[in-house]
């Protein structure tokens, strides 16, 4: 399953704020964080939610790591291959074991991470950790199975292809980036997906490079005791060998002017306009990441002036949203609107650009910034109502910096954010770093 980070950010409210300097830490649980000698990290969070345990295994490898031409989409393909079995647990046995324990299990991949997650009853923790350790260390699949699995990836591309937002995202990334691996989506270029069946040898190399303890963090949340979890992880994961590979991710050269692209969508749809601006990488030691997150809410959420004008009053658009990235490398701050009539696309685009300009010219009202702080604090609190979601939220932060403290550090930035910080962040949205993509259906040619 491919997870689009922009969606994830909206879902998690990754732009989270604390209400004041004395506020309780946003991640309220006590946890233990252990590093094994081989470089594997274990984070255990005991909670009061009875009986259930969630295990999330985060590999700091995503489509960002696909540095060689012709092999885009491999991090995601690998997520699929990890279900292809080992000598000890062939796929049937693996599935039957998960079945017997009544587990909910899946995996997802995005730009910067691949995460494997299983949620189950507490008495089965030993079984899950043993089985997961086995596949991370002893995955073995033959070429015929590899070829079959690559077709399931094509099937995933096919089911996604019915949505114009998938295509829009593909074109946005391909247009905005020249060198960096964010140029391709997590699914990868279609031609590379179609060529995957011929890349068995490369897949073995990919596993050997990235499925290593130094790239991996195990998050265990739920009805558990940290000491017992550590003992199980030592037992099953302690022998895993550290690797040595470090990818050279190409730096994206500075963009020197605005770019545009257009998508002709073959079937009926409302037109979509999306504007992306290159912005810095995630950083919780400075203000911009936090301030851009706040900007997305202030300028483009459903209480923003722009939303009220375009969606509620004039009703020229049926949705508008902004998304600030939290990526390992510089990425795109994106604003997307779905427009009701093709003739209004330019109008909506111009209002979006005007809004960006207005936030660059004038600091936002301090009281409004406070409502954003409150919202984001409650947003996270409301979601942390079960062990599975707590682990899911953590996995996102762990992918960035391998510790729950990432989340607390970001909140600390929010606690001291000023209207001027938001204004400075808006000034990062430069015309020369802008990419605009429009999409229209039949009869809506631009």
């Amino acid at each position: 399953m491919v997870l689009m980070l922009s969606k994830l950010c909206l879902l998690l409210g990754c732009a989270a704020l604390a209400c004041g300097a004395q506020a309780q830490k946003v991640f309220p649980y006590e946890y233990s964080q252990d590093d094994l000698p081989n470089g594997l990290r274990l984070i255990t969070v005991p909670t009061d939610y009875a009986n259930i345990v969630a295990v999330y295994i985060v590999v700091q490898t995503g489509s960002r790591n696909e540095v060689e031409p012709g092999h885009t989409g491999f991090a995601h393909l690998f997520e699929h291959l990890m279900f292809r079995g080992t000598p000890l647990y062939p796929p049937e046995k693996y599935n039957q074991t998960l079945n017997r324990i009544g587990a909910s299990s899946n995996a997802s991949t995005s730009d910067d991470l691949t995460v494997y997650h299983t949620t189950f009853s507490k008495e089965d923790l030993d079984t899950v950790l043993a089985m997961e350790a086995d596949r991370f260390q002893h995955l073995k699949y033959a070429e015929p199975e590899f070829k079959t699995e690559s077709l399931a990836v094509l099937g995933e591309y096919n089911k996604n292809s019915a949505s114009p937002f998938s295509k829009l995202n593909e074109v946005m990334q391909n247009t905005a980036f020249d060198k960096h691996t964010y140029k391709h989506t997590t699914m990868g270029f279609l031609k590379d997906i179609q060529d995957m069946p011929n890349q068995y040898e490369y897949s073995l190399k990919f596993f050997d490079r990235y499925y290593r303890p130094e790239y991996t963090t195990i998050i265990v949340v739920g009805d558990v005791k940290a000491k017992a979890v550590r003992a199980m992880v030592d037992k099953y994961w302690g022998e895993w060998k550290r690797g040595s590979y470090k990818p050279e991710i190409p730096m994206e050269p500075e963009q020197n002017g605005p770019r545009t692209a257009h998508v002709d969508w073959p079937s009926a749809t409302l037109p979509i306009v999306s504007v992306g601006f290159k912005v810095p990488a995630y950083n919780d030691a400075t203000k911009p990441t936090a301030a851009l997150d706040a900007l997305a809410y202030l300028a483009f959420s459903n209480t923003s002036d722009l939303y009220q004008k375009l969606v509620v009053q004039e009703q020229k658009a049926d949705s508008i949203f902004g998304n600030a990235p939290s990526s390992v490398d510089p990425s795109l701050f994106e604003i997307t609107a779905r427009v009701k009539k093709a003739e209004d696309v330019d109008y909506v685009r111009d209002r979006i650009l005007e809004t960006v300009k207005a936030f660059q010219e004038k600091p936002v009202d301090a009281a409004r910034l406070d409502t954003v702080r409150k919202r984001l604090r409650y947003q996270v609190a409301l979601r942390m109502d079960n062990s599975d979601t707590i682990a899911q939220i953590l996995s996102y932060y762990v992918a960035l910096k391998r510790t729950p403290e990432t989340m607390n550090a970001l909140y600390d930035q929010y606690a001291t954010l000023t209207p001027q910080d938001v204004q400075q962040a808006a000034k990062l949205l430069l015309e020369k770093g802008r990419t605009m993509v429009t999409l229209t259906g039949p009869g809506g040619a631009k």
Partner: protein, 489 residues
Amino acid sequence: MKLTISLFLLAACAAAQIRTVALPGKSPLVTFRIVFTTGSASDPADKPGLAYLTAQMIADGGTKDLTYKQIGDALFPMASSVNAQVDKEMCSFGGATHVDNLDAYYKLLRGMLLTPGWREDDFRRVRDDAINAIKVALRGNNDEELGKEVLYETLYQGTPYGHLNTGTISSLEKITLDDVRAFYKSQYSQSQLIIGIAGGFSPAFLTAMKKDFQALPATAAPQPRISAPAAVEKSRAVIVDKDTRSVAFSIGYPIDVTRARPDYAPLLLVSSYLGQHRMSSGVLYDRLREKRGLNYGDYAYIEYFPRGMFLMEPQPNLARHQQIFQVWIRPVEPPTAKFALRLALFELDKLNKNGLTQEQFDRTREFLGKYVNVLTRTKRAELGYAIDSLFYGIPPYNDYLKTQLGKLTLADVNRVIKQYIRTDRLVIAAVTRNGEDLKRQLASDDASPMTYNSPKPQQITEEDKLVVKWPLGLKPQDIKVIPVSEVFQ
């Protein structure tokens, strides 16, 4: 768990008129599910979509005192919302808030449900959204959901379930704000109401809340009689023609099994064995995807499960008196479409002939007995399931299912397989480009040879010899091709 049961029963019995499901706890969150047992089955025959528009106006419009913007501004810092879900027999309004904001949130929720604003500008926006939900989100951008809904519409023709919950475009264009007001007045009553609340609220809070909702009329207009749809006498297919990359299939037929019926647990076990939603353990997933790489996944259902492409688990409060058995084949490449369909039917036939083994039965039963804990792990889900249990007149779902599963034998399951699993007398819904071409293929008994990009074990190649000529039992006159622009129009 015992405590939960007693509270549940107590709450359900306490109010003479307003049914209540209360799950108090220490959580700093309070979750609401306000359900009215009315829905699109109560739409007037000439106004499909009326229940949907009414619920959306409540959740996505202003109140008498507050505009839509004022409500949005008030909810924003709480990070809360009020979301509507409309199905055939239930309209539910859900939301959660931190106890810090309980009073403020409840005031908004109460205003929305008891004193809606019915403003023209809200109506214009909400109606546009509904039309675009059909035109764009469903017909344009989601072939899989489109196929599923076409299947439902086809099977339920001529019954109160016979139209999409959202309605049709032509009907939505005609419905007026007066129609919405009238629907609200006649359907949103105490007799149809179930108040669901969970988390850190006080008994006094709930008492006050129930008193507030007594402002609703005591009874609703008569509800439609939900009878079984006509039996499918002969297999037929509906092909939606649109410009798309691959072929999405949904196949199914009505069943007279709901949670309240004795065959629910054994049939649930069968559907889980065939294809547990989004899990790699099902037979269909294994045979179509894992062994043959035909698509992204394949699953089976015995209860309505909308938005399956976005959800890992079923949503509560879609309780119905009528259900269908359904197989969902995710998009396949056009050259392998007929083979994939044949293979799914071949597997159903195999199941019908062979039944389950003791090991398969034990494993699937064990899975469901534990998985139900995962399904009900949040207060929100527990509350939703509890409301559905009230609807069906069964004990809390978690206990109910475990008890029913505990009583099952392999013989019970193999009996329901014989009774309910079949490969004839079903409806096939497909979404594809070149609909006429697919029609020609489906109407023909020609083999659909399958080639793979890698060698397959003998067992697969031997099976394929049967699959490639598996009879679909369709004649040209059994297959209808509809341009996408006419679907739900």
